[in-house]
Symmetry: C2
Subunit: 232 residues, 2 copies
Amino acid sequence: MSTPLSPTDRTTVRRGHARAATDREVLHALLDDALVAHLGVVVDTDGAPYPVVLPVAFAVDLDGPDDGGTLYVHGSVAARWLGRSEGTTVCVTLTEVDGLVAARSAFHHSMNYRSAVVIGAARVVGEAGEKQHALDLTVDHMVPGRAATLRPSTRKELAATAVLAVPLAEASVKVRAEGPVDDPEDVAAGTWGGVVPLRRVAGVPEHGADSHDRVPEDVRRRAVALGAPADH
Amino acid sequence: MSTPLSPTDRTTVRRGHARAATDREVLHALLDDALVAHLGVVVDTDGAPYPVVLPVAFAVDLDGPDDGGTLYVHGSVAARWLGRSEGTTVCVTLTEVDGLVAARSAFHHSMNYRSAVVIGAARVVGEAGEKQHALDLTVDHMVPGRAATLRPSTRKELAATAVLAVPLAEASVKVRAEGPVDDPEDVAAGTWGGVVPLRRVAGVPEHGADSHDRVPEDVRRRAVALGAPADH
């Protein structure tokens, strides 16, 4: 609870101040845990702007060139949202669901979750070195250490990859991690209330077609870290 | 692959046609599985519109009053995005991640996932009956059958609950569910490629403070359906 995350009004949490975890460490941990982000862009082709939200792979470079560190969003040059985003304000939201909160009334039902909302000006990464770096980070975000085991990307591959950089400076984080908060009457009435905890679990890695059956150590380690049995 | 999901251009999938599962059944199954949705709205307070994306609880009524069925998005009347949304176009995106695709090159790394993008005009639900219905559906979406076990919502609770209705008519679905798709040279080079499968797993339900220790059958069934041990 040391560093305010929201230098501007638009990412200041108005609701649930008690749940607004204003600690940048919480943001960084969530950026570590989340596998996809949801990127929101405003599309305005005929003067009637509407939002489009798409799931994207991402990576983070806390020492990146953007204010607060850089959030890299990964896409294809064929994706329409990308060309539209240069210089515009985008929103990147990450959410991990940790539990179903079965309260004693419909009204108090909730979920345990961690979420972050990042708003900032999008920069399309043009320089090949930064793009390769962002691509490596994206691979390592999925399977830590894997980028170093792969051949370098070709120029053609880099040209076909589009990367959007968003500064991490303007962000808000919310965390709910508790049991149901019920009205005393409903507790007194004896209705059961509690939480169904949820987590993401990996299975044993599956070999691709024409793949040898020796799972590399980085993949094995990642799967086990995500809960897969260790003896595969 | 029977019913086209995209009556308009803006939800027509331009990329990955092979992956665009245009089957409404896939949409409905995803709406069943997903626990949170990401709601995108356009905020325009000073002529510089920007997107805001927030995680929300939701429920679906395929027989609801809106075209294609109704997606109900649940919020608080205190939430700023809600008052701004009436009559505006919003985007609701759902994503379930099913696996990490460790390809033989950085470029072909991917994820297995199911996602849906719904775009439509938001309607703030005003009528108490529809609001209670949407709230019950939201509870039952978390724990099927639970709404019927709870006391009815009070007028005060309904007044403090805000529900947004979005038509399901305009939607697109994408599914990736396969191993890595690699270049022949990388396969020939002997690099391992495969998939780390991922799923959401529930733990044993945790009793809330002052709760009796008898987990109700609906909660137990839901936890078991999500992978919790059956013997609790």
